[in-house]
Symmetry: D4
Subunit: 248 residues, 8 copies
């Protein structure tokens, strides 16, 4: 219903004024008092809700999960500590906790997967961020292929994987230390790169500032940057592009 | 030709050893001494060459343009000063200089355009960066629609354009000052956003650091960041996604 | 008594020289040795004393609270840990600890409330800072209405509350991540905004630096900034304005 | 007209559907192509339009001034260079350029002034920022009293003015170097302080970062911060508060 | 003995060549293997040795204290944790631990005191740094007067003490938050100020960077800055000046 | 006259109430409108007035110089451009401009010199800052000895001067690049060091931030820091100490 | 075998196509799934593998050590916690843990040592970084001489060691605080200096940023910088140079 | 002559006391007043003097060049503007100015070259820094091979040169933008890399900070960093290593 149809509905009485006010406010979300949950999001943005668990209080997290549990809707929480999972698990079945990616999932309906995303990283320390991206992308209905420990300090490892990497619709490049991985991959591929700096490193790495600056200043074209350690955001952006290419 | 086919060609004599060495070095670029120009780029990366004119010496810029001019290939230079254009124009016809976007173009073959990108900005001061993006995207064969001066401090202007903006395959959001534009657009659309912070501002803006941080930390999903004032890079990334969606 | 009256008092003997020296030093505070408590503050600045508990030693905090307890004066402590409350509670009745806002209150006289302040935030993680502001503003005698979880990434939630928000004399906008909330609210209202960046976020958020810069560089007018996580300061500033508008 | 009245108007035919669509888009601004000018702003935000001239192209600035000139509406431009004024003055009468504050004014209707704002600064180098604030505040219809060169390194000067300063509804404190002025004034007054750091200084001043941090971290309450050198913004915020106190 | 006298001693045999080599190396320190302790320091620099305990291993700290204990020489350790004291106290008598200043002292010879230093701070949270300075200065043989909680946000407290403060030879001004204390004191006195920023604060205080910048950029003259929280260094510098004034 | 004597004077009529009000305001400065000149400063702070010319407008600078010229009082301006001198010289005789130190002097009474300050620097590029310090210190009545180009990268040069340097009451150590000079000098002397970082350097020097941090973090004791390039401030601080030692 | 020999081998059948594909991929590493271990490294880069233990999961670290243990190859792990050692020691003999340097070693073949490296530091707190460098250099087959606690604040200690230091092929200079050690050593020697800033310090040291900037901006030539606390990297770089000088 | 021989010489009269004092001061440099020129440097450090012209005054630069010119010794000045050259050329013959590298040379004796250094850069904008390094290294007696425009965004260019690059004793890697070049080269070679970040770039490059951090945090070993744009320093360090390898 567009605005003209809406106004015509008001004019001819097909919609009451009360409903019209409601329409203008778009109040289709559940108000938990402290939070307004957006059940229409999947319809509007094509992707289900994901919760950032890190700074949620126990009560808030429980209330949010329960409201999904009761509606039997899928939900994913990222940056979740094991204690948060254990708390939720006391009151809900079917929760899955993945320690490496620090995610909690509730999957009522099986997720169909389309298209393909490649997730690459330079060293084993970057794997948790990669796994957050992988689980998110799969939760969003996308196939994922992973290419771990192919850092540019040993170029042969990367070169031997590059033909496989190029087959994906979108490439997520995760790198800490100096973050040169995305530059080299972007120079070798013609697919969009989502680059994720990680806080892996020490000294003048400044908790990921060094690879962030590397990625922003890359001499290779085609690099799209997200926040430090933001595996979730990289997956979101990659899935969004993948969905448009696969036209679902 | 893949590597197996290559080795079989060597084995059965279809390719000489000299050609094989050439193949392994992939020497298909012209060496100007100070620079190695990549004529195959269009075939390999699907997009023609673009020159970053800002830090090129006059001699280097002239030599590069002439090598394209002689091959009658299209070329675009960004961050070009008017004096650079005037110098080149003494020796080549058909050069087009656009003052607002600071670009020089040489277009021998007409550029066919596919798909559509929306370029939005908050204030009139961001327009030069937008125009660099527009001219680049059009040079790369993409239709562009522009939405200028729709900053979030006067939300109505943005809201009245949002339905048009959403029709594009990819949205470029250009913003200086605090850079909140990309957050609001991303919250209203389900298309990939390429966010470009600009150095427009003063004081604690720190030449674009403020909007850069805003974009990296956005609470909206779907935002892909490029460097401050990097209209060219935003266009490149947007075109790459547009090309995959339009499948050309 | 102004300075002329004071000098005339000295001249005509209405005030002794000893009292005059006292007057010139304005020694009307209690000296605890390590701290000088300002009992006249309420009269002079119109607002009662508030203690920043975070870096106080146990002995100092106890001595300060007792000096108010003995005078039966209201007092509020912010940034208080539960252990600090428990320590004080052993020696004083009537203490109220609020865990979310981390405040300890001692309220002997009932607080009359005038005018109204709106406190808004983008996400549930910002609520502790909001609550510090709310409890402070109420302690200072102001009515408060809260609008939580109305972040700009889901603009409809904010738009559906904006008419209510505008009714307040002053608006406190609390936001972490990229902090765009204050820009959007300021663009929609004509009331003073006190903007509070929070340290909610990660990566290139730099513990609240990102939203702080956003607020300082906002393209919307009417935004007044306080320190990161400074809910107390925002309330103080808002109450000060509210008090002048309400003329009490 | 509120939303309910609007919908009732549609229902009973008092408003046509075309007008209704217009209402929902709030299109009451003039579209110059590159910019959308907001003539309703004075009604909606109670203050007339002000133009930030610094980054405007000559053509844009001329077009904006002319559109006001033709409607005989007052307009103020800040951060204007003398060459910009001279350009505009060729095509419009009655323009006033003030070199110290770098402002251009067009005043068709006489501005009535209400309430009072005090503008203070520490040293003579801060005066241009003060004057930008003064001219803006007067343009917005507020009386201004100025207190220049009362820096805290010579405390007597400040103390001898403080009784006068306190009489204003709002105090603007402008300071470069280390910016301690706002702390001392706030400790002596019970009026809202709008603190403006300036870029006056050298070395580890970092173009105003030092006084900005001073003001944000002040141990005095009641300080509201705006961007470095932002005299205009300070005036806007002060006028907004003054207007609410004076109830016009 | 100057160099000429030394060479004459060699020439005429008053000093042996072996002694001469020793003289040229100035090897008068005890080599503990991991550290070279400087017993001559008191003679050479006029002040006894002080140990920075924070980053010392237990073994190293014990060995250093014992070497002084055996020679019955006074020693002071700063930044010492209580556990370090308890460890040392098992093997040595007469150790004094002061918890507030985090210092361990061993005083065999009574310390005579000359001249006077004033130590001032703004708030109670700065007292530990003040006490580190006080104990160091007294250990170095200087009288100390302290003026705590005289911050500039309540100027009367500072003004009522200023005449006493001015009597000292040197003034140490310790301040966290925005650190304006040193500016105001320096404006009122004609004695050298040693300014110590502290890490007391939060948010944009950046662990003491804010008051450090304030002090470096002060518009008052006569301020000498030392590192954040460096109470020891401030005392050292103040004592050095006091010693020259008192000529001991 | 102290406060008790003042009040007794009022009481017994030795001082009129009008004079008393004047006393309480300490209004002994000349008000030029834009600036309040402090003629009593020399009496109060023992040192004559110095003007920071850099950010003064021509009119302000002229007015200030004239007010001293008319009273035949000495004055010094630092950070003065040659054009500023030429402007002043049109209306006043006896002005001396020193190009290297960028100072303008007006000396009516001959300056008597007491005590001694040593000024050292590492490289020839630091000499302008040294000369600003030298001329200031001499204007303030102190003898100065200079030791230029004795940087630590060629340690012998420094060691051969150190005995002379140590004879001064106070040592000013000026250094750019990495600023290690003050550390080495402080390790070899027992006199107060005023350390001045300079903006000499490039790349990661960050306009003097590198030597500033070096000086603040020095492992040598006895180093007092002033702002980058602040030769004037270093001289002020050194003279203040010298004056106390020499007891004038 | 160079590329021409390789292609001739393919052509004449001396190498099969399968082997040729293998050759082109250079797959000579063991793939553990999460990591690709590089056993050829010693041959290719002349130095054995070293593991950065800090961010490795227990499982990953165990798997890596076991793969070396099974091949009886030497391996060194840096930044290893004692718990990591204890875990590994349950399943492998011959492991050596060094607490000061936080290293774990497995040495099957005795390491022959050539050439010599000097490792110097200013204070005892820098020793852990020195020891990481020492153990790495010895593991890489180099003799090491150490010179600890020779900081520039007591120059005599350094000068008395300098003749010994100069005998090494390469000098590693490790320093925290302000990091001036490398400047002074470089000024006295003509051997390459590898400078390592450490995070030893406090306040404006910013976790090693201060000495890092010192070293980068040094006025002495011949200084090569590595990351903060990077003892391992300094040893690697020093050994590489030593190996070339010693021609092994 | 070592110290023992020196003292024996004094004892037995082979050296006079005056000569001995001279020996102890090592006064073998020419004192120009403002600078102390080090003619022995070549003997002591094995490399001739190089002047940093950027911040030298005209008089100082002239005096320094003349003192070398008169002794007919070679000298090189870096960071020299053309105007500086033209000034010197008026009074001295044989001066050579190279505009690209901004160097002035005076070569009286022909320079013999030994060993070999490779200088690589990513883009044409980095060539001026490379050329400063090349001219310095050749002035210091080293052969240089250059590899320009082999940036990692087009990896094939780099890979086709790598076998030649590896033949050098030392490799200088110069890179702006994100500076990934040194990481990739270091991963492919076993020779020492001297990495030079350049200030080429824009936006979040921060004048070379981005590539500096990249190089410091590289995941490849064997990288030695010098300051931003410091081509001279890189050459110095490379030559020092080359000289030790070539044993001249």
């Amino acid at each position: 219903m567009n605005d003209r149809e809406f106004l015509e509905g008001i004019k001819n009485g097909a919609m009451s004024i009360e409903d019209g006010l409601e329409y203008m406010k778009d109040s289709n979300y559940k108000d938990l008092g402290f939070a307004k949950i957006d059940f229409d999001r999947k319809k509007r943005r094509h992707l289900p809700e994901v919760i950032f668990a890190q700074s949620k209080s126990d009560e808030h997290l429980m209330a949010i999960f329960k409201s999904f549990f009761e509606r039997k809707e899928n939900i994913l929480a990222t940056r979740a500590r094991k204690e948060q999972f254990e708390l939720l698990a006391k009151e809900m079945d079917n929760l899955i906790y993945d320690e490496l990616s620090r995610t909690i999932r509730l999957e009522f309906e099986k997720i169909e997967k389309k298209g393909n995303i490649a997730i690459c990283c330079g060293g084993t320390s970057d794997i948790p961020v990669c796994e957050e991206a992988r689980i998110t992308a799969e939760f969003f209905g996308t196939n994922v292929t992973t290419f771990y420990d192919i850092g540019v300090s040993a170029l042969k490892r990367l070169l031997s994987s590059i033909d496989e990497i190029k087959k994906a619709n979108v490439i997520i490049a995760v790198a800490g230390m100096e973050g040169a991985l995305s530059t080299v991959i972007a120079g070798l591929c013609d697919k969009p790169i989502i680059a994720v700096p990680t806080s892996v490193g020490y000294g003048a790495n400044f908790n990921g500032l060094a690879p962030l600056l590397t990625m922003i200043n890359s001499c290779s074209e085609g690099i799209n940057i997200v926040n430090i350690d933001n595996g979730y955001g990289a997956a979101y952006n990659a899935v969004q592009i993948n969905r448009l290419i696969e036209k679902y």
